[in-house]
Symmetry: C2
Subunit: 347 residues, 2 copies
């Protein structure tokens, strides 16, 4: 065991805050009967001193917190199922919340989690700011980011998928079918996963010696509506693409709608590749060729990792070794009916 730096005791923090030790304890335990100003002062001192509860103090609730950037996301269900699988086996409940707008009067989301004392927190397409990290650290509540939205930084354990390889495989598939004018619809540029997919698209074109035409890359946001709008934009160009890598499945379905509206048949007139492999990809007509990312397995891995981190943090002997705290699971191309050879004679 590495020796830890000595930190302030609860009594020292109480003295500095000018309150009793039981009051500091109440703040740590998330009790409601503390004046807001007192709670804020005590929290600030706990953070300043990098206070970490000892295991004996940290009686955890049998819960895992699962936080989504937004619950609209059509693949949220796949993630929930994965976390629920692991939680059930560990006898834990799953608390669901949305980070966007998750502020209740006087208490931030992180305060609520600190008060709840779950075994761990899984953040989906979402991050934590420094003060939220400090608050969770002070309660020894471990956290893991799934599919990080930005650069999570070395201190944020994360689970993702090989997005770059996925974008590469999708585009290479279209190149191999003979397409030379291949468009793409990106996700939001602030999301790492989205940038990586488009990087893969570019890499495949460059490797094949095909030009990367910026006019053929439309800016999407991973929603169906944008796939439709960007689809119309790309398909109405005078020299339109014969194939489009749609960035994700929802945008691919929007693109289907745009193609229908313009009287273009899939795959005869237009080949389409998605990303995610949601259940719906198999159900649409024609069934969608897409890049499968193992969302349920990723969520299971995130839940296992966060529980492992909790065990390592708390136990004195036989700490579980958590070596890999940034993991990417493999993606794979699933070829279905939406891709074919380019139309004879071109567009």
């Amino acid at each position: 065991m590495a020796a830890r730096e000595p930190v302030a005791t609860l009594a020292e923090i109480a003295r500095e805050a000018g309150v009793s030790a039981p009051t500091v304890s109440k703040v740590l335990n998330g009790r409601a009967d503390v004046a807001p100003a007192t709670r804020t002062r005590v929290e600030e001192l706990l953070r300043a001193h990098g206070y970490r509860r000892r295991r004996a103090e940290a009686s955890r609730s049998p819960l895992i917190d699962l936080v989504f950037h937004e619950l609209e996301s059509a693949w949220a269900m796949e993630v929930i199922r994965g976390v629920e699988n692991v939680a059930r086996q560990a006898g834990l409940g799953v608390v669901l919340s949305e980070s966007a707008g998750r502020l209740t009067p006087g208490r931030t989301w992180a305060d609520q989690v600190a008060a709840r004392r779950p075994h761990g927190v899984i953040l989906v397409l979402s991050g934590l700011d420094a003060s939220q990290r400090a608050l969770l650290n002070s309660r020894s509540i471990p956290y893991v980011v799934m599919d990080p939205a930005g650069d999570p930084g070395p201190e944020m354990p994360s689970i993702g998928a090989t997005n770059l390889q996925g974008g590469l495989a999708a585009t290479r598939h279209l190149v191999e079918l003979g397409h030379t004018r291949i468009g793409a619809i990106s996700g939001p540029s602030r999301m790492m996963c989205s940038r990586a997919r488009i990087d893969g698209y570019r890499a495949a074109l460059e490797t094949a010696g095909l030009p990367v035409d910026p006019a053929l890359v439309a800016d999407g946001d991973f929603h169906h509506e944008t796939g439709y709008r960007c689809g119309l934009e790309l398909l109405r160009r005078p020299y339109r693409p014969t194939a489009v890598f749609a960035g994700n499945d929802l945008q691919a379905l929007g693109l289907y709608e745009a193609a229908r509206e313009l009287g273009l048949r899939i795959p005869e007139d237009l080949s389409v590749v998605g990303f995610d492999d949601l259940p719906v990809a198999r159900w649409v007509g024609p069934p969608l060729t897409t890049v499968r990312q193992p969302l349920t397995e990723m969520a299971e891995a995130a839940a296992k990792l966060v529980l492992d981190l909790g065990r390592e943090d708390g136990s004195d002997a036989e700490a579980t070794s958590v070596e890999a705290t940034s993991v990417e699971l493999a993606t794979s191309l699933v070829v279905r009916g939406s891709t074919g050879v380019p139309p004879v004679g071109g567009v």
Copy 2:
């Protein structure tokens, strides 16, 4: 205030169980440091005496429990969003679980909920047995059933949709287009909502003076795969239906696949109506005519009801009046591209 029957005190239950009052208190508070046999004995006595905690004892966690029969259900997301909306406004977290197989060693799901002490429990397509009800009653944890799977009984507050009227509207729409040979795919017969939809289908045919042919009603289970299988079965009949009420949207999408496989065009050769109005109904080709049930609003209503029940139960003065504890929200037909007049000259 109506006078309540006197019930056993905590001390009396402790005496009868042969344990100390603090041990009974530990059981009530869901603490783990009680021998399983003792806990079982105390729980039985609490149930037998119809023990209800007084509000002062019932320090609730800021949580709502949301229980699904199965998380596979494609419309679970719409329900989660509705409960999450109400919970967020009330400053509560949502704990998600699956009732199927939700048993951890030595503790039943209901024990976990009792230990968690949420503000309320919402059950989706799921019920509670008598002992689970007694356990939650003993902790003054209110519950509401959403879209009850069976007959919930008068003591189970419930939120549903007008399934019969929905099935009626779907089928009447097909009759009005001129169809006379209309098939249906049911959901599981144990589910009330499924039976009501098929009752509506029958009522519409009878009202129109059309025969109800049992051979045209296939037994489904609300999954995509069954829609496909039942679709093949119905569409391969020598004198096949020209329109099918598919029971729900997922079965309608399975039916799309069966029609594609048999070379039948929708709506030229076959009209299809779904039920639910999931987001995907708008995205498929052709967009699906379906019966909208307001899932998010139903979930919001269920969450509000369960919080109202909690307030009524706990507060002595100014109890919120909860009059309607069985509510059906209206369904409405949404006509899109999957329905049209029957093929000229019949099948």
